[in-house]
Protein backbone atom coordinates (compact mmCIF):
# COMPACT_ATOMS: atom_id res chain seq x y z
CA UNK A 1 0.00 0.00 0.00
CA UNK A 2 2.98 2.23 0.03
CA UNK A 3 3.47 4.71 -2.69
CA UNK A 4 5.77 7.49 -3.61
CA UNK A 5 5.07 10.00 -0.99
CA UNK A 6 6.59 13.06 -2.35
CA UNK A 7 4.84 14.28 -5.25
CA UNK A 8 6.57 15.03 -8.30
CA UNK A 9 6.51 18.56 -9.46
CA UNK A 10 5.69 18.44 -13.15
CA UNK A 11 8.68 19.51 -15.19
CA UNK A 12 6.35 21.57 -17.38
CA UNK A 13 5.60 23.81 -14.41
CA UNK A 14 9.28 24.65 -14.09
CA UNK A 15 9.50 25.87 -17.64
CA UNK A 16 6.68 28.38 -17.18
CA UNK A 17 7.26 31.79 -15.56
CA UNK A 18 5.45 30.83 -12.35
CA UNK A 19 6.33 31.25 -8.68
CA UNK A 20 8.72 28.57 -7.44
CA UNK A 21 6.13 26.91 -5.20
CA UNK A 22 3.78 26.19 -8.11
CA UNK A 23 4.00 22.59 -9.25
CA UNK A 24 2.15 20.24 -11.55
CA UNK A 25 -0.24 19.11 -8.83
CA UNK A 26 -1.36 22.66 -8.06
CA UNK A 27 -1.79 23.43 -11.75
CA UNK A 28 -3.87 20.26 -12.13
CA UNK A 29 -6.06 21.29 -9.19
CA UNK A 30 -6.60 24.79 -10.65
CA UNK A 31 -7.40 23.41 -14.11
CA UNK A 32 -9.76 20.80 -12.67
CA UNK A 33 -11.57 23.43 -10.58
CA UNK A 34 -12.08 25.63 -13.63
CA UNK A 35 -13.37 22.71 -15.71
CA UNK A 36 -15.66 21.48 -12.92
CA UNK A 37 -17.09 24.98 -12.54
CA UNK A 38 -18.42 24.83 -16.09
CA UNK A 39 -18.91 21.10 -16.73
CA UNK A 40 -22.41 20.66 -15.24
CA UNK A 41 -23.99 23.16 -17.64
CA UNK A 42 -26.59 21.11 -19.46
CA UNK A 43 -26.02 17.98 -17.39
CA UNK A 44 -29.30 18.26 -15.57
CA UNK A 45 -30.06 18.18 -11.87
CA UNK A 46 -29.11 14.55 -11.27
CA UNK A 47 -25.86 14.71 -13.23
CA UNK A 48 -24.86 17.82 -11.33
CA UNK A 49 -25.72 16.11 -8.05
CA UNK A 50 -23.49 13.12 -8.92
CA UNK A 51 -20.59 15.47 -9.73
CA UNK A 52 -21.06 17.31 -6.43
CA UNK A 53 -21.28 14.01 -4.55
CA UNK A 54 -18.02 12.93 -6.19
CA UNK A 55 -16.28 16.06 -4.91
CA UNK A 56 -17.74 15.69 -1.42
CA UNK A 57 -16.58 12.08 -1.23
CA UNK A 58 -13.18 13.21 -2.57
CA UNK A 59 -12.81 15.47 0.48
CA UNK A 60 -13.48 12.53 2.84
CA UNK A 61 -11.07 10.35 0.84
CA UNK A 62 -8.42 13.11 0.93
CA UNK A 63 -8.55 12.94 4.72
CA UNK A 64 -8.25 9.17 4.77
CA UNK A 65 -5.42 9.40 2.25
CA UNK A 66 -3.52 11.57 4.72
CA UNK A 67 -4.14 9.16 7.60
CA UNK A 68 -3.55 5.97 5.65
CA UNK A 69 -1.76 6.84 2.42
CA UNK A 70 0.81 9.22 3.85
CA UNK A 71 1.03 8.40 7.56
CA UNK A 72 0.30 4.67 7.16
CA UNK A 73 -2.32 4.54 9.95
CA UNK A 74 -5.12 2.12 9.15
CA UNK A 75 -8.47 3.65 9.99
CA UNK A 76 -11.92 2.22 9.41
CA UNK A 77 -13.82 5.16 10.86
CA UNK A 78 -13.79 7.74 8.07
CA UNK A 79 -17.51 7.41 7.34
CA UNK A 80 -18.25 7.73 11.06
CA UNK A 81 -16.35 11.03 11.12
CA UNK A 82 -18.23 12.11 8.02
CA UNK A 83 -21.43 11.27 9.91
CA UNK A 84 -20.35 13.39 12.88
CA UNK A 85 -19.70 16.31 10.55
CA UNK A 86 -22.96 15.84 8.64
CA UNK A 87 -25.13 15.55 11.76
CA UNK A 88 -23.34 18.46 13.49
CA UNK A 89 -23.94 20.68 10.46
CA UNK A 90 -27.53 19.49 10.03
CA UNK A 91 -28.37 20.10 13.70
CA UNK A 92 -26.58 23.45 13.89
CA UNK A 93 -28.10 24.84 10.70
CA UNK A 94 -31.63 23.40 10.92
CA UNK A 95 -32.25 23.27 14.70
CA UNK A 96 -29.95 25.93 16.17
CA UNK A 97 -30.17 28.30 13.23
CA UNK A 98 -26.43 28.82 12.90
CA UNK A 99 -25.14 29.72 9.45
CA UNK A 100 -23.43 27.05 7.38
CA UNK A 101 -19.95 28.59 7.58
CA UNK A 102 -19.87 28.51 11.39
CA UNK A 103 -21.37 24.99 11.32
CA UNK A 104 -18.71 23.91 8.82
CA UNK A 105 -15.95 25.23 11.09
CA UNK A 106 -17.50 23.62 14.18
CA UNK A 107 -17.89 20.28 12.34
CA UNK A 108 -14.21 20.41 11.39
CA UNK A 109 -13.11 21.31 14.91
CA UNK A 110 -15.35 18.65 16.46
CA UNK A 111 -14.08 15.88 14.21
CA UNK A 112 -10.50 17.15 14.67
CA UNK A 113 -10.94 16.83 18.46
CA UNK A 114 -12.58 13.40 18.27
CA UNK A 115 -9.90 12.27 15.78
CA UNK A 116 -7.22 13.47 18.18
CA UNK A 117 -8.72 11.32 20.94
CA UNK A 118 -9.06 8.32 18.62
CA UNK A 119 -5.44 8.85 17.63
CA UNK A 120 -4.23 7.89 21.11
CA UNK A 121 -4.78 4.13 20.57
CA UNK A 122 -2.65 4.55 17.43
CA UNK A 123 0.27 5.40 19.70
CA UNK A 124 0.07 1.91 21.19
CA UNK A 125 -1.41 -0.35 18.51
CA UNK A 126 -0.55 -0.57 14.83
CA UNK A 127 -1.77 -2.12 11.59
CA UNK A 128 -4.85 -4.38 11.85
CA UNK A 129 -5.07 -3.92 15.63
CA UNK A 130 -5.52 -0.20 15.04
CA UNK A 131 -8.03 -0.94 12.30
CA UNK A 132 -10.10 -2.92 14.82
CA UNK A 133 -10.03 -0.05 17.33
CA UNK A 134 -11.37 2.32 14.68
CA UNK A 135 -13.88 -0.33 13.57
CA UNK A 136 -15.28 -0.39 17.12
CA UNK A 137 -15.49 3.41 17.10
CA UNK A 138 -17.26 3.35 13.75
CA UNK A 139 -19.84 0.89 15.05
CA UNK A 140 -20.33 2.99 18.20
CA UNK A 141 -21.01 6.16 16.20
CA UNK A 142 -23.43 4.36 13.91
CA UNK A 143 -25.34 3.01 16.93
CA UNK A 144 -25.53 6.50 18.42
CA UNK A 145 -26.81 7.92 15.13
CA UNK A 146 -29.42 5.16 14.86
CA UNK A 147 -30.56 4.91 18.49
CA UNK A 148 -30.40 8.42 19.92
CA UNK A 149 -33.58 9.47 18.22
CA UNK A 150 -34.06 12.60 20.39
CA UNK A 151 -30.89 14.06 18.84
CA UNK A 152 -30.37 12.42 15.48
CA UNK A 153 -33.89 11.45 14.48
CA UNK A 154 -32.82 7.78 14.53
CA UNK A 155 -33.64 5.83 11.38
CA UNK A 156 -35.97 8.64 10.30
CA UNK A 157 -32.97 10.95 10.06
CA UNK A 158 -32.95 14.73 9.79
CA UNK A 159 -34.61 16.57 6.95
CA UNK A 160 -34.98 20.11 5.64
CA UNK A 161 -31.26 20.80 5.95
CA UNK A 162 -30.75 24.28 4.48
CA UNK A 163 -28.16 25.08 1.86
CA UNK A 164 -25.81 27.99 2.53
CA UNK A 165 -25.86 31.35 0.84
CA UNK A 166 -22.81 33.26 -0.34
CA UNK A 167 -22.84 37.01 0.43
CA UNK A 168 -26.62 37.01 0.11
CA UNK A 169 -26.55 34.86 -3.01
CA UNK A 170 -28.80 31.81 -2.57
CA UNK A 171 -27.16 28.49 -3.39
CA UNK A 172 -30.34 26.42 -3.40
CA UNK A 173 -30.08 25.39 -7.05
CA UNK A 174 -28.09 22.30 -8.04
CA UNK A 175 -25.64 24.22 -10.25
CA UNK A 176 -25.06 27.05 -7.76
CA UNK A 177 -24.43 24.62 -4.93
CA UNK A 178 -22.18 22.49 -7.17
CA UNK A 179 -20.02 25.54 -7.87
CA UNK A 180 -19.88 26.24 -4.15
CA UNK A 181 -18.74 22.64 -3.56
CA UNK A 182 -16.08 23.07 -6.27
CA UNK A 183 -14.65 26.14 -4.49
CA UNK A 184 -14.67 24.54 -1.02
CA UNK A 185 -13.14 21.30 -2.34
CA UNK A 186 -10.47 23.26 -4.20
CA UNK A 187 -9.53 25.22 -1.08
CA UNK A 188 -9.37 22.07 1.06
CA UNK A 189 -7.27 20.32 -1.60
CA UNK A 190 -4.85 23.27 -1.75
CA UNK A 191 -4.42 23.24 2.03
CA UNK A 192 -3.63 19.53 1.91
CA UNK A 193 -1.30 20.02 -1.07
CA UNK A 194 0.59 22.66 0.89
CA UNK A 195 0.78 20.44 3.96
CA UNK A 196 2.01 17.39 2.08
CA UNK A 197 4.78 19.31 0.31
CA UNK A 198 5.85 20.99 3.58
CA UNK A 199 8.17 19.31 6.10
CA UNK A 200 5.00 17.99 7.73
CA UNK A 201 4.32 15.85 4.69
CA UNK A 202 7.85 14.48 4.81
CA UNK A 203 7.38 13.65 8.49
CA UNK A 204 4.07 11.89 7.78
CA UNK A 205 5.83 9.81 5.13
CA UNK A 206 8.60 8.96 7.59
CA UNK A 207 5.94 7.84 10.03
CA UNK A 208 4.59 5.44 7.42
CA UNK A 209 7.90 4.13 6.15
CA UNK A 210 9.89 3.77 9.37
CA UNK A 211 8.57 5.24 12.62
CA UNK A 212 11.52 3.99 14.70
CA UNK A 213 14.07 5.67 12.47
CA UNK A 214 11.85 8.76 12.28
CA UNK A 215 11.87 9.07 16.08
CA UNK A 216 15.65 8.70 16.14
CA UNK A 217 15.85 11.74 13.82
CA UNK A 218 13.94 13.95 16.25
CA UNK A 219 10.54 13.53 14.61
CA UNK A 220 7.90 13.57 17.32
CA UNK A 221 6.08 10.48 16.10
CA UNK A 222 3.35 10.86 18.76
CA UNK A 223 2.54 14.38 17.65
CA UNK A 224 2.50 13.50 13.95
CA UNK A 225 0.42 10.35 14.55
CA UNK A 226 -2.19 12.38 16.41
CA UNK A 227 -2.08 15.13 13.80
CA UNK A 228 -2.52 12.65 10.94
CA UNK A 229 -5.56 11.18 12.64
CA UNK A 230 -7.02 14.51 13.66
CA UNK A 231 -6.54 16.29 10.32
CA UNK A 232 -7.74 13.23 8.38
CA UNK A 233 -10.84 13.10 10.58
CA UNK A 234 -11.43 16.86 10.20
CA UNK A 235 -11.50 16.39 6.42
CA UNK A 236 -14.20 13.76 6.89
CA UNK A 237 -16.05 16.28 9.08
CA UNK A 238 -15.75 18.91 6.34
CA UNK A 239 -17.05 16.36 3.82
CA UNK A 240 -20.00 15.67 6.12
CA UNK A 241 -20.66 19.40 6.43
CA UNK A 242 -20.90 19.58 2.62
CA UNK A 243 -22.83 16.33 2.31
CA UNK A 244 -25.70 17.35 4.60
CA UNK A 245 -26.82 20.41 2.59
CA UNK A 246 -26.12 18.56 -0.68
CA UNK A 247 -28.61 15.76 0.04
CA UNK A 248 -30.79 17.92 2.35
CA UNK A 249 -31.77 14.80 4.30
CA UNK A 250 -29.49 12.51 6.28
CA UNK A 251 -29.99 9.20 8.05
CA UNK A 252 -27.39 6.82 9.58
CA UNK A 253 -26.99 4.49 6.57
CA UNK A 254 -24.33 6.49 4.59
CA UNK A 255 -22.12 6.59 7.69
CA UNK A 256 -22.00 2.89 8.48
CA UNK A 257 -18.95 0.65 8.66
CA UNK A 258 -19.50 -0.60 5.11
CA UNK A 259 -19.19 3.01 3.89
CA UNK A 260 -15.86 3.33 5.74
CA UNK A 261 -14.66 0.25 3.86
CA UNK A 262 -15.87 1.85 0.65
CA UNK A 263 -13.89 5.03 1.40
CA UNK A 264 -10.86 2.85 2.12
CA UNK A 265 -11.37 1.17 -1.26
CA UNK A 266 -11.43 4.62 -2.90
CA UNK A 267 -8.08 5.51 -1.28
CA UNK A 268 -6.47 2.28 -2.45
CA UNK A 269 -8.03 2.26 -5.92
CA UNK A 270 -7.16 5.92 -6.50
CA UNK A 271 -3.60 5.45 -5.25
CA UNK A 272 -2.69 5.72 -1.56
CA UNK A 273 -0.08 8.37 -0.93
CA UNK A 274 -0.80 10.30 -4.15
CA UNK A 275 -2.30 13.74 -3.71
CA UNK A 276 -4.67 13.42 -6.66
CA UNK A 277 -5.47 9.78 -5.87
CA UNK A 278 -8.61 10.58 -3.82
CA UNK A 279 -10.25 12.31 -6.78
CA UNK A 280 -9.61 9.29 -9.00
CA UNK A 281 -10.68 6.86 -6.27
CA UNK A 282 -13.88 8.78 -5.56
CA UNK A 283 -14.55 8.94 -9.31
CA UNK A 284 -14.37 5.15 -9.39
CA UNK A 285 -16.52 4.82 -6.28
CA UNK A 286 -19.18 7.41 -7.06
CA UNK A 287 -19.34 7.96 -10.80
CA UNK A 288 -18.42 4.52 -12.16
CA UNK A 289 -21.51 2.87 -10.60
CA UNK A 290 -23.61 5.54 -12.34
CA UNK A 291 -21.98 4.76 -15.68
CA UNK A 292 -22.71 1.07 -15.08
CA UNK A 293 -26.41 1.60 -14.52
CA UNK A 294 -27.10 0.22 -18.00
CA UNK A 295 -26.17 -3.20 -16.56
CA UNK A 296 -29.11 -3.08 -14.16
CA UNK A 297 -28.72 -5.31 -11.12
CA UNK A 298 -25.36 -6.62 -12.40
CA UNK A 299 -23.66 -3.26 -11.97
CA UNK A 300 -22.20 -4.04 -8.54
CA UNK A 301 -20.66 -7.28 -9.82
CA UNK A 302 -19.10 -5.45 -12.78
CA UNK A 303 -17.90 -2.68 -10.48
CA UNK A 304 -16.28 -5.21 -8.10
CA UNK A 305 -14.61 -7.00 -11.04
CA UNK A 306 -13.19 -3.72 -12.40
CA UNK A 307 -11.79 -2.79 -8.99
CA UNK A 308 -10.26 -6.26 -8.50
CA UNK A 309 -8.65 -6.22 -11.94
CA UNK A 310 -7.30 -2.73 -11.32
CA UNK A 311 -5.71 -3.70 -8.02
CA UNK A 312 -4.23 -6.88 -9.48
CA UNK A 313 -2.76 -4.91 -12.40
CA UNK A 314 -1.58 -2.03 -10.27
CA UNK A 315 -1.52 -2.39 -6.48
CA UNK A 316 -0.59 1.30 -6.28
CA UNK A 317 -3.98 2.21 -7.71
CA UNK A 318 -4.89 4.33 -10.70
CA UNK A 319 -2.39 7.05 -9.77
CA UNK A 320 0.40 4.46 -9.75
CA UNK A 321 -0.76 3.20 -13.14
CA UNK A 322 -0.82 6.73 -14.56
CA UNK A 323 2.60 7.49 -13.07
CA UNK A 324 4.06 4.36 -14.66
CA UNK A 325 2.51 5.26 -18.00
CA UNK A 326 3.83 8.82 -17.79
CA UNK A 327 7.32 7.56 -16.90
CA UNK A 328 7.30 5.24 -19.92
CA UNK A 329 6.08 8.01 -22.20
CA UNK A 330 8.72 10.50 -21.06
CA UNK A 331 11.53 7.93 -21.24
CA UNK A 332 10.48 7.08 -24.82
CA UNK A 333 10.50 10.79 -25.74
CA UNK A 334 13.94 11.25 -24.21
CA UNK A 335 15.18 8.17 -26.05
CA UNK A 336 13.94 9.59 -29.34
CA UNK A 337 15.89 12.87 -28.89
Amino acid sequence: MTAPATHSAAPAARRLPLPAFVDGTLLTLVAAAVILWFVPSGMGRYGTYVLSLWLVMSVAVMGLNLTLGYAGLKSLAQAAFMGIGAYATALLTSKVGLNWYASFAISGLLTFAVGLVLGFPALRVKAHYLAFVTLAFSTLIWLVLRNEQWLTGGVFGLSNIPRPSFFGLKLDGALAFHRFVVVVTFLLAVVLWWMIRSPWGRAFTALRENPIRAASLGIDTRMYTLLAFAIGSAYAGFAGALYAPLVEFIDPSPFSLSQSFFLLLMVVAGGAGYLLGPFIGALLGVVLPEWLRFAGSLYLIIFAAIVMLLLIACPQGMSGLLERGWAKLTSKKEGAR
Binding site: T2, A3, P4, A5, T6, F21, M195, R197, S198, P199, W200, R202, A203, T205, A206, E209, N210, I212, R213, A215, S216, L217, G218, I219, D220, T221, R222, M223
Partner: protein, 247 residues
Protein backbone atom coordinates in the same frame (compact mmCIF):
# COMPACT_ATOMS: atom_id res chain seq x y z
CA UNK B 1 37.58 16.18 30.23
CA UNK B 2 33.77 16.41 30.28
CA UNK B 3 31.78 13.22 30.36
CA UNK B 4 29.15 13.40 27.65
CA UNK B 5 27.53 10.06 28.38
CA UNK B 6 27.44 8.11 31.59
CA UNK B 7 25.84 4.66 31.83
CA UNK B 8 25.44 3.26 35.33
CA UNK B 9 24.60 -0.32 36.24
CA UNK B 10 22.31 -0.80 33.25
CA UNK B 11 20.22 -3.98 33.16
CA UNK B 12 17.78 -5.24 30.57
CA UNK B 13 16.02 -8.57 30.93
CA UNK B 14 13.66 -10.23 28.44
CA UNK B 15 11.82 -12.70 30.67
CA UNK B 16 14.54 -14.81 32.21
CA UNK B 17 17.22 -13.73 29.73
CA UNK B 18 19.50 -10.95 30.93
CA UNK B 19 20.58 -9.28 27.69
CA UNK B 20 22.36 -6.45 29.51
CA UNK B 21 23.57 -7.26 33.00
CA UNK B 22 24.94 -4.36 35.01
CA UNK B 23 26.89 -2.44 32.36
CA UNK B 24 28.60 0.79 33.45
CA UNK B 25 30.82 3.04 31.38
CA UNK B 26 31.28 6.67 30.45
CA UNK B 27 32.24 8.49 27.28
CA UNK B 28 34.36 11.63 27.26
CA UNK B 29 33.74 14.59 24.99
CA UNK B 30 35.41 14.16 21.61
CA UNK B 31 36.21 10.49 22.23
CA UNK B 32 35.60 7.62 19.81
CA UNK B 33 34.63 4.64 21.93
CA UNK B 34 34.27 1.18 20.42
CA UNK B 35 32.02 -1.54 21.81
CA UNK B 36 32.74 -5.05 20.63
CA UNK B 37 31.57 -8.50 21.61
CA UNK B 38 30.28 -11.73 20.12
CA UNK B 39 26.82 -11.91 18.55
CA UNK B 40 24.07 -11.83 21.17
CA UNK B 41 26.25 -10.28 23.86
CA UNK B 42 23.84 -7.35 24.27
CA UNK B 43 25.51 -4.57 22.27
CA UNK B 44 22.47 -3.44 20.31
CA UNK B 45 20.19 -3.91 23.34
CA UNK B 46 22.56 -1.65 25.26
CA UNK B 47 22.27 1.01 22.52
CA UNK B 48 18.49 0.68 22.47
CA UNK B 49 18.33 1.13 26.26
CA UNK B 50 20.59 4.19 26.14
CA UNK B 51 18.57 5.73 23.32
CA UNK B 52 15.08 5.17 24.72
CA UNK B 53 14.04 2.50 22.23
CA UNK B 54 13.89 -0.02 25.09
CA UNK B 55 13.10 0.58 28.75
CA UNK B 56 15.98 -0.62 30.97
CA UNK B 57 15.02 -2.99 33.77
CA UNK B 58 17.40 -1.14 36.07
CA UNK B 59 20.13 1.48 35.93
CA UNK B 60 20.58 5.03 34.73
CA UNK B 61 21.74 6.93 31.65
CA UNK B 62 23.05 10.48 31.98
CA UNK B 63 23.78 12.96 29.23
CA UNK B 64 26.00 15.85 30.33
CA UNK B 65 25.13 14.91 33.91
CA UNK B 66 21.38 15.05 33.25
CA UNK B 67 19.33 11.89 33.82
CA UNK B 68 17.87 10.87 30.45
CA UNK B 69 16.88 7.31 31.34
CA UNK B 70 13.73 6.34 29.41
CA UNK B 71 13.68 9.63 27.56
CA UNK B 72 11.95 9.30 24.19
CA UNK B 73 14.27 8.91 21.18
CA UNK B 74 12.96 12.07 19.50
CA UNK B 75 13.68 14.13 22.63
CA UNK B 76 17.16 12.64 22.94
CA UNK B 77 17.83 13.50 19.34
CA UNK B 78 16.87 17.10 20.01
CA UNK B 79 19.41 17.14 22.83
CA UNK B 80 22.07 16.34 20.26
CA UNK B 81 22.15 12.54 20.35
CA UNK B 82 22.02 10.78 17.01
CA UNK B 83 22.29 7.15 15.96
CA UNK B 84 22.39 4.62 13.17
CA UNK B 85 20.89 1.15 13.34
CA UNK B 86 22.36 -2.29 12.76
CA UNK B 87 19.99 -2.85 9.84
CA UNK B 88 19.54 -0.26 7.11
CA UNK B 89 17.12 2.45 8.14
CA UNK B 90 16.80 4.88 5.24
CA UNK B 91 13.47 5.98 3.77
CA UNK B 92 13.39 4.10 0.47
CA UNK B 93 10.70 6.14 -1.30
CA UNK B 94 12.43 9.46 -0.64
CA UNK B 95 15.41 10.71 -2.63
CA UNK B 96 18.87 10.90 -1.05
CA UNK B 97 18.44 14.67 -0.67
CA UNK B 98 14.97 14.31 0.87
CA UNK B 99 16.30 11.70 3.32
CA UNK B 100 18.93 14.18 4.47
CA UNK B 101 16.49 17.09 4.72
CA UNK B 102 14.16 14.87 6.72
CA UNK B 103 17.03 14.00 9.04
CA UNK B 104 17.54 17.65 9.93
CA UNK B 105 14.16 19.32 9.54
CA UNK B 106 12.83 18.82 13.06
CA UNK B 107 15.76 20.83 14.40
CA UNK B 108 14.73 23.86 12.35
CA UNK B 109 12.07 26.28 13.64
CA UNK B 110 8.76 25.29 15.19
CA UNK B 111 5.90 23.05 14.09
CA UNK B 112 4.08 26.10 12.72
CA UNK B 113 7.09 27.48 10.87
CA UNK B 114 7.68 24.04 9.37
CA UNK B 115 4.10 24.12 8.07
CA UNK B 116 4.13 27.66 6.70
CA UNK B 117 7.82 27.91 5.84
CA UNK B 118 9.82 26.61 2.93
CA UNK B 119 9.47 23.06 1.73
CA UNK B 120 13.10 22.18 2.48
CA UNK B 121 13.11 23.84 5.93
CA UNK B 122 16.14 25.77 4.63
CA UNK B 123 18.25 22.62 4.57
CA UNK B 124 18.99 22.08 0.88
CA UNK B 125 22.44 23.68 1.08
CA UNK B 126 23.36 21.62 4.14
CA UNK B 127 22.04 18.45 2.49
CA UNK B 128 24.14 19.17 -0.61
CA UNK B 129 27.17 19.70 1.60
CA UNK B 130 26.56 16.36 3.32
CA UNK B 131 25.99 14.64 -0.04
CA UNK B 132 29.37 15.92 -1.22
CA UNK B 133 31.07 15.03 2.06
CA UNK B 134 29.85 11.42 1.90
CA UNK B 135 30.58 11.19 -1.84
CA UNK B 136 26.95 10.65 -2.84
CA UNK B 137 26.87 13.58 -5.28
CA UNK B 138 25.75 11.66 -8.35
CA UNK B 139 22.90 10.09 -6.38
CA UNK B 140 21.28 13.19 -4.85
CA UNK B 141 18.01 12.79 -6.76
CA UNK B 142 17.93 8.98 -6.75
CA UNK B 143 15.44 7.18 -4.53
CA UNK B 144 17.25 5.82 -1.49
CA UNK B 145 15.65 2.41 -2.01
CA UNK B 146 17.45 2.07 -5.34
CA UNK B 147 20.96 2.58 -3.92
CA UNK B 148 23.43 -0.23 -3.32
CA UNK B 149 23.77 -1.54 0.23
CA UNK B 150 27.03 0.28 0.79
CA UNK B 151 25.65 3.55 -0.57
CA UNK B 152 22.63 3.23 1.71
CA UNK B 153 24.99 2.68 4.65
CA UNK B 154 26.81 5.91 3.76
CA UNK B 155 23.47 7.72 3.48
CA UNK B 156 22.38 6.24 6.81
CA UNK B 157 25.54 7.60 8.42
CA UNK B 158 25.18 10.98 6.69
CA UNK B 159 21.63 11.29 8.03
CA UNK B 160 22.93 10.86 11.56
CA UNK B 161 25.09 13.97 11.12
CA UNK B 162 22.55 16.29 9.47
CA UNK B 163 21.50 17.94 12.72
CA UNK B 164 25.09 18.49 13.90
CA UNK B 165 24.91 16.08 16.84
CA UNK B 166 27.28 16.13 19.84
CA UNK B 167 27.05 12.39 20.43
CA UNK B 168 26.58 9.76 17.73
CA UNK B 169 25.98 6.06 18.41
CA UNK B 170 26.79 3.97 15.35
CA UNK B 171 25.54 0.38 15.32
CA UNK B 172 27.71 -1.71 12.98
CA UNK B 173 28.38 1.05 10.43
CA UNK B 174 30.82 -1.15 8.52
CA UNK B 175 28.52 -4.17 8.19
CA UNK B 176 28.19 -5.20 4.54
CA UNK B 177 30.25 -2.25 3.25
CA UNK B 178 33.00 -2.95 0.72
CA UNK B 179 36.61 -2.06 1.49
CA UNK B 180 36.73 1.13 -0.59
CA UNK B 181 33.57 2.52 0.96
CA UNK B 182 34.73 1.41 4.39
CA UNK B 183 37.86 3.53 3.97
CA UNK B 184 35.69 6.49 2.93
CA UNK B 185 33.42 6.01 5.91
CA UNK B 186 36.31 5.84 8.38
CA UNK B 187 37.87 8.92 6.86
CA UNK B 188 34.55 10.83 7.12
CA UNK B 189 34.01 9.82 10.73
CA UNK B 190 37.53 10.88 11.68
CA UNK B 191 37.07 14.23 9.93
CA UNK B 192 33.78 14.96 11.72
CA UNK B 193 35.36 13.95 15.02
CA UNK B 194 38.38 16.19 14.45
CA UNK B 195 36.62 19.19 12.90
CA UNK B 196 33.35 19.29 14.84
CA UNK B 197 34.46 17.59 18.05
CA UNK B 198 31.58 15.10 17.82
CA UNK B 199 31.74 12.16 20.22
CA UNK B 200 31.19 8.64 18.89
CA UNK B 201 30.24 5.30 20.34
CA UNK B 202 30.69 2.59 17.72
CA UNK B 203 29.44 -0.99 17.85
CA UNK B 204 31.30 -3.04 15.28
CA UNK B 205 32.39 -6.56 14.43
CA UNK B 206 35.06 -5.45 11.97
CA UNK B 207 38.10 -5.50 14.23
CA UNK B 208 40.39 -3.58 11.87
CA UNK B 209 37.78 -0.83 11.60
CA UNK B 210 37.30 -0.56 15.38
CA UNK B 211 40.93 -0.83 16.33
CA UNK B 212 42.05 1.79 13.82
CA UNK B 213 39.20 4.23 14.54
CA UNK B 214 38.61 4.07 18.29
CA UNK B 215 40.76 5.44 21.08
CA UNK B 216 39.18 3.17 23.68
CA UNK B 217 37.34 -0.14 23.41
CA UNK B 218 34.86 -1.89 25.70
CA UNK B 219 34.33 -5.62 25.29
CA UNK B 220 30.95 -7.08 26.20
CA UNK B 221 30.27 -10.75 26.85
CA UNK B 222 26.97 -12.22 28.02
CA UNK B 223 25.62 -8.76 28.82
CA UNK B 224 28.56 -7.72 31.04
CA UNK B 225 31.68 -5.63 30.53
CA UNK B 226 34.49 -8.15 30.09
CA UNK B 227 37.33 -5.73 29.44
CA UNK B 228 38.04 -2.08 28.75
CA UNK B 229 41.14 -0.27 27.49
CA UNK B 230 43.03 0.99 24.48
CA UNK B 231 42.81 -1.13 21.34
CA UNK B 232 46.27 -2.56 22.07
CA UNK B 233 45.31 -3.47 25.65
CA UNK B 234 42.11 -5.13 24.53
CA UNK B 235 43.90 -7.11 21.83
CA UNK B 236 46.32 -8.43 24.40
CA UNK B 237 43.72 -9.29 27.05
CA UNK B 238 43.55 -13.10 27.42
CA UNK B 239 39.90 -13.02 28.53
CA UNK B 240 38.98 -11.14 25.37
CA UNK B 241 40.93 -13.52 23.19
CA UNK B 242 39.17 -16.41 24.87
CA UNK B 243 35.69 -14.88 24.60
CA UNK B 244 35.81 -13.22 21.24
CA UNK B 245 38.94 -12.46 19.31
CA UNK B 246 40.25 -15.98 19.47
CA UNK B 247 37.18 -17.42 17.77
Amino acid sequence: MNQVLEVSNLHKAFGGIKAVNGVSFSVNEGEILGIIGPNGCGKSTLFNCILGQLEPTEGAVKLDGRDVTNMRPSELNRLGVSRTFQLLQVFPELSVRENLILAGQEHEGTMLSRFFGSRDAGLTAKAEQMIGFFKLGHLADAKAGGLSYGQQKLLDAAMAFMAGPRLVLLDEPAGGVNLTMLGDLKERLRAINAEQGATFVVIEHNMDFVMSLCSRVIVLAEGKVLAEGTPAEVRANPAVIEAYLGH
